[in-house]
């Protein structure tokens, strides 16, 4: 859980061997869905299930673009970007959701460290983004207000 897949494969000698291992390994090993993390019901439990006990520090090198007041909590558009060197994973939590872990992205070798998605928020809460780089977690938090609308059938 502490060693990223990228670090593991870097330890395999040579780029050709790297590519050969990727194609030889069955797909399931790449992204075994972390059920424990996705079903954890508190932010702390979800973080532990996802990352174990890696140290966390706040970072200003993570940008969270989200609305101030969500038009509809079922479709909140969020974009995350980070300039943290060696970022290997970006994970997004919505703190007040019944299961806070929303999505987790492993940064592939040729992938830019930014993602966009639409997520669900039941009520006003903090979006918590963790970026893993090396053996550390970097954190950014942003509040999104969610209101219950008054109109329409």
């Amino acid at each position: 859980m502490g060693v990223s897949r990228r670090q593991f494969f870097k330890s395999v000698a040579g780029t050709i061997a790297y590519a050969a291992v990727i194609s030889a390994v069955p797909e399931r090993l790449f992204a075994a869905w972390n059920q424990k993390a996705f079903t954890s019901e508190t932010l702390a439990a979800a973080i532990t299930a996802k990352y174990g006990s890696l140290p966390i520090e706040n970072s200003t090198a993570i940008q969270i673009k989200s609305p101030e007041i969500a038009e509809n909590g079922a479709y909140v558009p969020v974009s995350i970007a980070t300039t943290i060197a060696g970022a290997s994973n970006i994970t997004i939590f919505s703190e007040a959701n019944f299961a806070p872990l929303v999505a987790s992205f492993d940064i592939m070798p040729r992938m830019r460290p930014d993602v966009s998605l639409r997520l669900r928020m039941a009520k006003t809460a903090n979006l918590v983004v963790l970026v893993q780089a090396g053996g550390k977690l970097y954190k950014a938090v942003k509040e999104v207000k969610v209101t219950i609308g008054g109109c329409g059938g």
Partner: protein
């Protein structure tokens, strides 16, 4: 699933829109019965045999999921393959040809 892949200066921007109910497993139907969860759990993308996108998602992602990412080293005319798996074993795979901006 609909995919838009656009290349500009060697950077490919990919946008994915997947038709999926993303049932959370917490919703009750008209009779008061809990509707079973049914949601996408993994979304991946390949380009030239390499994984360029790897995501684990869950019921916190909106219905008809939208995901967008970028990768380098791709050109117009090449293919990006997007695939997903859901909690009931459902899957879908789409090849998308990278177009110019």
């Amino acid at each position: 699933m609909k995919v838009k892949a656009v290349a500009q200066n060697n950077v490919v921007s990919v946008k994915i829109l997947i038709q999926h109910v993303m049932e959370t497993g917490r919703r009750k139907d008209e009779t008061g019965k809990l509707v079973a969860g049914h949601y996408i759990t993994e979304v991946n993308a390949e380009h030239k045999g390499e994984r360029v996108f790897q995501a684990e998602i869950g019921p916190g992602v909106s219905k008809d999921p939208y995901l967008a990412f970028q990768f380098t080293g791709g050109s117009v005319g090449e293919t990006v393959t997007i695939s997903w798996v859901d909690s009931k074993g459902g899957t879908e795979k789409t090849d998308s040809v990278i177009s110019a901006l």
